[in-house]
């Protein structure tokens, strides 16, 4: 359940932000979670619900966007969706691919007021 650690980190970042910007409350936070980031969105939502009590995020709307896994084939340069790490290139069947998207784990935006 590392999602709880991730939830705690999100709250730390939000608390830091609120202190720096003298914001009393955060109304909305937008988070991007890559499909290959190792985070289960449902678990993250659950962990956040527990962890935000008595923090600046207590009443914030949490919006999580999943970023699809994406790879590029090193052999033929084709870009394709890779939801599971090991999808071969659909064009040339090569396994020599490189992940170019889906590892994101980022707070995109914070809304105050």
């Amino acid at each position: 359940m590392h999602e709880l650690s991730i939830a705690t980190s999100i709250i730390e970042i939000a608390e830091d932000f609120a202190r720096t910007h003298q914001a009393e409350k955060i109304s909305r936070i937008e988070i991007e979670v890559g499909q290959l980031s190792g985070i289960v969105n449902e678990s993250l939502v659950f962990a956040l619900e527990l962890a935000v009590k008595n923090t600046v995020l207590e009443s914030a709307e949490v919006v999580i966007t999943e970023i699809p896994g994406k790879s590029i084939c090193r052999a033929c340069k084709h870009e394709f969706d890779n939801p599971d790490w090991y999808t071969p290139c659909p064009e040339c069947q090569s396994m020599n691919t490189e992940i170019i998207g889906g590892k994101e784990l980022q707070i995109k935006s914070i809304f105050t007021g």
Partner: protein, 303 residues
Amino acid sequence: MCDTCGCSDTNGGVAYHKPGEEHAHENPHTHDHEHHYEHEHEHEHGQEHHSHTHDHAYSHEHNHDAHTHSHDHSHEHGSHTREHDHPHGKEFKIEHDILDKNNMLAERNRGYFEAKNIHAINLVSSPGSGKTTLLEKTISDLKTDISFFVIEGDQQTMNDANRINATGAPVIQINTGSGCHLDAEMINKAVKQLEVKEHSLLMIENVGNLVCPALFDLGESHRVVVISVTEGEDKPLKYPNMFSTSDICIINKTDLLPYVDFNVEKAKEYALRINHHLQFFELSAKTGQGMDAWYAWLKKKME
């Protein structure tokens, strides 16, 4: 959680112990209160950015003023804050990586290790794959050639640290309490307490878990994932994050191959699908079979 008094007020439930050393908390506190009574206390570790409470069975209050402190630090590393007005209020596009804090601490560890010529290895696996036995055997066989230091990670107990202690290598146990992985901050603290010497090999045995430790860089030089032949050969496909972030894959307990349906070649093929750069060692830490190649690799890294 502290396994002496059952309290969890050290570093958010994380405790550090060396075998034979009594109950050493990082922020020393006294235990002159009765634990049979209910009490509640809260304390803030401002520096750590966390607060926690814990409840015992009866009631009294105490303050840990000694370690109540707060620091303001804002870090928006590599992020570009832009403001916009928006129906939800004022929007700040901060683009802040959530693992930033851990990643930066990991880089700090890495820099320290490089400067001191400490080679750090992060051993990850499911519970029961034989990480501790592998360490015991490796240390016993190589201790005249290599100076070993060991950090053991488990939710509870000193068992693994005691086993390593018996080999003569300096060891510290991190009990993560409810935590499912080690992180860079824990390593930073453990390395200081362990007083790791220059030109040494630091073996970090992570919490047995193929999921969570994958996300947390500790500042290691190499990540070594251990699977055993009593597990399914499709482990790499089931836990791709771990295999994608590892450099070495050890297939352990090969002495049991005649008795199990584990196809080594298939396991390797699956692992290579996830990570083309993985290097394999097939061995039995119990019988010593195949250990020579692993030792040769370790010695080469220490040159």
